[in-house]
Amino acid sequence: MTPAFIELAYLAASLLFILGLRGLRAPQSARRGMVLAEIGMLIAIGATLLHQHLVSYQWIIAGVVIGSAIGTAMAVLIPMTKMPERIALSHSFGGLAAALVGISEYYRHSGVLGPGKMAALGFEVMLGSLTCTGSLMAFGKLQGMIAERPLTHRLQNGLNLSLLLMTLAMIGYLIPHTTSQALFYIVVGVSFLLGILLVLPIGGADMPVVIALLNSYAGLAAAATGFAISNSVLIVCGALDGASGFFLSLVMSKAMNRSFGNILFGAFGSESAAVIARATAAGRSVRSATVEDVVIVLKNASSIIIIPGYGMAAAHAQHAVRELGDLLERGGATVKYAIHPVAGRMPGHMNVLLAEANVPYDHLYDIDAINDEFSATDVALVVGANDVVNPAAKHDPQSPIYGMPVLDAELARSVLVLKRSMNPGFAKIENELFLRPNTMMLFGDAKETLMQLVHQLKEEG
C-alpha cells in the first residue's frame, strides 16, 4: 500500500475517533459513538499492517494475542468498584509502550538523529516513563499496597522540582548532542524515578486529580511518539487523550478549589490537627443512632437525597443503596442522588457504580443541579461521603478545604450519616456536619447497615 493511502486511512480513523468521543455527550448516543471509534481503530491498524517496513509478523501476532487475552480478561473480570485501579494500570501500560518505542528508536539509530526528532524522543521517553511508574504508584495506593496517606518529607518538593528541571536540562543538552548515549539512558532512568517521587506524597482524596493528570501525560507521551516516528494518527490521538486528561484535571481541581501546583506540590494532611483539636474543644458530641431510629425518620420522609462517597465503593454498597432507594420510592417518597465531582477515587466513579446497580441515570444529579433543593428536603442520607459534605468549606477560612464547593447536606431537615467509624476522611479533616443537632450518625459497614435498614423497613411494611 502506498504511503498516501495509509495517510488517508489515518485521516478517516482520526475523524471516526473525534465523532466517537462526540457520542459521549449523551448516554443514548455513547455506545454508537464507541462503535465508530472501534471502526477507526481497525482502519488505522489495518493500514499500518501494510506498512512497507514490516517484514516479519511473528512478534506482532504474539504481542496482539497476549495483549488481547490480558485486556479481555481484565475488562470482563474487574468489578466496577475497581475501575480507578484499572484506569491507573492502563495509563501505566500506555506510558510504558510509548517509552519503549522511544528507546527502541533511539537505540536503532545509535543516537544519530536530527534535533527535532531528538526533542520529540526526549519528551516521549520522559513522559512515558514518568507516566508508567507514576500510574503504578497510583495503582498501589488505590489497592492499599502503598500507604494511601500522603508520604512527605521536608526536602520533597525541592528534590522533585530539581529532578524535573535536571531531566529537562538533560533533554535540552541532548538536542544538539544527540549521540551522548549514556545521557539518554540516564534521562530514562531519572524519569522512571520521578514518576514514583511525584505520586508518593499525594493522598487518597486527591487521587481523582492525579489520575486525570496521568491520563493527560499518557496522551502527551503518545503524541510525542507520533512526532518522533512521524505518524499523524498518533499525534491526533495523543492530542485527544491529552486534551481529555487536561479537561478532567481542570474539572477536578475546580471541584476541590485547588490549583494543579497545590495538588502536586502541597500534600494534604499536615495542618488538620489544629482543626480536630478545635472541634473537640468546643465540647460538642455526635449523636449516634440505632437502625430503629433511622427507620422512623426514613418512613416519615417524603423527599430524600442520597449522597454517596468513597465509603460506598469501599463497602461495595451500591446495590444495597439502590435497594433502599427503590423501597423508599415505592413508599411514595422522591429519591434523588447528589454526586459531587470528586466523590470517589476518579472522575465519574459514583455515577458508574450507581448505574451498575440499575439506578436510572436521570436520578443522578450534579452538585450545581441539586444544591438548591436540600433546604426543601426531608432527609439527606450520606453514604460514606465526608469532605464533600463538610460545611466548614463554606465558612471556616482555617479549614484546609475552605473554598471547595460542597453539597449543602446540612440544610436538609434531618441528616443521616452512614459511616464506618468516627475516623476523619482520607483528607483527615474533622467534619462539623457530624456534630450538628439535626445529624444522626449510624456507625458500621455501609452495606450491612443498609441491608438492616431495608430489612427493617420491609418488616414494618
Partner: protein, 99 residues
C-alpha cells in the same frame, strides 16, 4: 532549527488538541469514567508505532522492546473498548430504547 515538516506536525497536534478539548468539554460528569476509559483505548493507537518497531526487523533489541510495547498497547485497545462498552450498558433510564 525546525523543519517545515515538523511545523506541520505541530499544526496537526495543536488543532487536534483544540478540537478534542471542545468536543470533550461537552461530556457530562455522568460519563466522565467512560470518557477516561474511551480516550485510554483510543490512545492505545500507539499500537501502530509499536507494530512497526516489532515487525520491521531493525535489530533484536528493537524487536523485543516492540513486542512488549505491542502487548501493552493491545491491552489498552482491547480492554479499553470492552470495558467502556460494559460501563455504557449500565446507563439507562425507564423508557430508553435498548439498542
Amino acid at each position: 532549527m525546525m523543519t517545515i515538516e515538523g511545523i506541520l506536525w505541530l499544526y496537526i497536534f495543536v488543532l487536534a488538541a483544540f478540537v478534542g478539548y471542545q468536543v470533550i468539554s461537552g461530556v457530562p460528569p455522568l460519563l466522565h469514567t467512560p470518557l477516561m476509559s474511551a480516550t485510554n483505548a483510543i490512545s492505545g493507537i500507539s499500537l501502530v508505532g509499536s507494530l512497526v518497531t516489532a515487525g520491521a526487523d531493525y535489530n533484536h533489541v528493537s524487536t523485543i522492546l516492540g513486542f512488549v510495547a505491542v502487548t501493552c498497547a493491545t491491552i489498552n485497545v482491547v480492554g479499553g473498548f470492552l470495558i467502556t462498552d460494559r460501563m455504557l450498558k449500565f446507563f439507562k433510564r425507564p423508557g430508553d430504547r435498548q439498542p
